[in-house]
Amino acid sequence: MSILIDKSSRVLIQGITGSTGRIYAERMKRDGTPLVGGVTPGRGGQEVAGVPVFDTMAEAVAATGADCVLSAVRPSLALDAVYEAVSSGIRLMVLYSENVPVHDAMKMCAFARAKGVQLLGPNSAGVISPGKANMADISLERTRPGRIGIVSKSGTLTYEAMDTLHAAGLGTSSIVCLGGDPVVGTEFAEVLRLFDADPDTDAVVLIGEPGGGMEFRAAEAVREMGKPVVAYLTGRNAPAEKRMGHAGAVSSASGDTSAAAKAQVLEDAGARIAPRVTQIGAVVAGLLGVGAA
């Protein structure tokens, strides 16, 4: 098993005829990801990487039975892309696009949540279940199938975490990147609960950062979980988060949202803290009593 995607997923790429879309399509085909089609308005009937291109998400879903979509459209089209994808009946969406306006992000996240669609992003590096399906900005050849889940705000640090797990003799069940933007569609807590219910995941690595309250809500999930969680918080030495003028201080999300404060709350909830990114694998291995710790 794994979470969110696997061999039975049916994947579309929105914007498949664009340069990023084509790279993803070729890679998915090469990696054995169940890519079933793509969407670019006005390009219906063409083919990319051997899969059909459709004009609309609705047509693509009807013709292919797709349930997942990776979207690589330009930021000005991202809101419409999410609205269209969510309305088409898919179950999971990765929005790879970055520099999406925050008002658009708020709207798309609210709509996806309203319709019960799991939206990763905007600015998400995606999700991969190694050896099964890859909807991520992560090369299959750099992954190793295994029993550790990763959920992360940062794409690049996910690569680092994977490498440290591999070095410790461990591999991953699924890797989920929530997206680097402040407003994203999916929370740590939701993904933690999915991993907790996944029979093929033994432990979860959480990679958080300063700002916002998502890690605090994650701590509540950690408290209820049966599986161990190892948390790494980046930005311990980051210059203090820029505050949005005076009003920021009175809005509800105030309080200490530094990496150190978050690490403390997660530790209090029962998570093991990896003090440095390069030590994540060793901490997990130590915790599980396996591998080359």
């Binding site: 930021p75 008002h103 900005d137 640090l157 311990r236 005076h246 990114v277």
Partner: protein, 376 residues
């Protein structure tokens, strides 16, 4: 994020239906009579305490004060302009603000019956706040709840409702992160007038607002990085570093700090990779121009190509040498797409490369200690 000056913020308010005092940028003058007020235009708060606001009752005082203010520096910023404005007697002062609550992922409206003071100094229970569901927008029940929350008098309710509605609508229409009016004053004629404006705009929404461009703030180094399409962070250290991704940038800072290194300046490549190797070369030049003890390149690409970065590094170093300079030592850690190609390019230029983050950090610290000992 784009921070508007007060007078820019007020223009935005006016085009969204708000009343503001008459005003003009000195040496122009508003059409109204004295008394006036002269206000420093700076993108930071605290100008009142710093002496950046002066009441002027005649032309002589105006010239004196405006000239004085124009020459000031406030919170590290040169005063950009002096705004001369009608002075309006306030019957009452309110605080109102619409902003994006990034954590809850929705707009919020905030109001308080005590305006004209720092909102942080007001007890939390006297501040009314409503979160706006983006699926339905601002609705009557939310407005009513705000009005009750600030004890808005019945005869002012209609006007206040309009102001709050405009505030919300302007936040959306302008793709703003925040529009704060403090104070919103009730004048003698019963009108609500925005006497100040703190407006932050979302630069990512520029495509919907032709002409909107982020003003490049920060230090000279940070501005240069920004002009190259990267994010520069000036920190008081001697290890310059170039990374991809915000998470990786923070983690590199943490890792080197944990090993005793002093990091800064930093560059997060951000959009640079779409611009080709020569842009990377310019980043390398910029970082080395800060005279660090060592330059650390820590890049992990699984989508973009490392060979582009390698070419950029080699080119940047060559430029410095061609110009007669001596670049600081460089430690390169790269992993990911086209890793072998990158290693080859760097190798040909005599630059070693590792794919191991921890090992690279150790090298950086060692090199740093060595450089410092050598007095480089």
């Amino acid at each position: 994020m784009i921070t508007l000056l007060e007078h820019e913020g007020k223009s935005l308010l006016v085009r969204n239906g708000f009343a503001v005092p008459s005003g003009a940028l000195w040496p122009a003058l508003p059409t109204c009579d004295y008394p006036l007020v002269a206000k420093a235009q700076v993108p930071v708060g605290g100008r009142g305490k710093a002496g950046g606001i002066a009441m002027v009752d005649d032309a002589a005082a105006l010239e004196t004060e405006a000239s004085r203010i124009a020459a000031m520096q406030i919170g590290g910023h040169d005063v950009r302009a002096v705004y001369i404005e009608e002075r309006i007697e306030a019957q009452r002062e309110f605080y109102v603000c619409a902003m994006v609550d990034r954590d809850r992922g929705c707009p919020v409206l905030i109001a308080c019956a005590e305006g004209g003071v720092e909102i942080e100094s007001v007890p939390r229970e006297r501040i009314a706040e409503v979160a706006i569901d983006p699926l339905i927008g601002l609705r009557g029940y939310a407005l009513n709840s705000l009005l009750r929350g600030i004890g808005c008098p019945e005869d002012l309710a209609g006007e206040m409702r309009k102001v709050l509605t405009r505030l919300h609508d302007a936040l959306i229409a302008e793709d703003a992160e925040q529009i704060e009016i403090n104070p919103l004053i009730l004048d003698a004629k019963g009108r609500l007038i925005a006497a100040d404006a703190k407006v932050l705009l979302d630069e990512d929404a520029g495509f919907r607002h032709p002409g909107r461009e982020a003003e490049v703030g920060g230090s000279a180094f940070e501005r240069s990085a920004r002009e190259l399409g990267a994010i520069g962070i000036e920190l008081d250290g001697n290890v310059a570093a170039m990374m991809n991704g915000a998470g990786m940038t923070m983690a590199t800072l943490d890792e080197l700090t944990a090993l005793g290194g002093k990091v800064g300046p930093l560059v997060e490549l951000h959009g640079v990779m779409t611009q080709g190797p020569e842009r990377v070369a310019e980043i390398v030049e910029l970082l080395l121009a800060q005279k660090p003890a060592v330059l650390f390149c820590n890049i992990y690409f699984q989508f973009r190509r490392l060979d582009d970065v390698a070419e950029g590094i080699v080119s940047g170093l060559k430029r410095i040498r061609d110009a007669g300079g001596t670049p600081a030592p460089i430690v390169v850690r790269m992993a990911g797409v086209k890793e072998a190609e990158a290693r080859e390019i760097l190798g040909a230029a005599g630059i070693p490369m590792t794919d191991n983050f921890a090992e690279a950090c150790d090298l950086v610290i060692a090199q740093c200690n060595h450089s410092v000992k050598e007095g480089v």
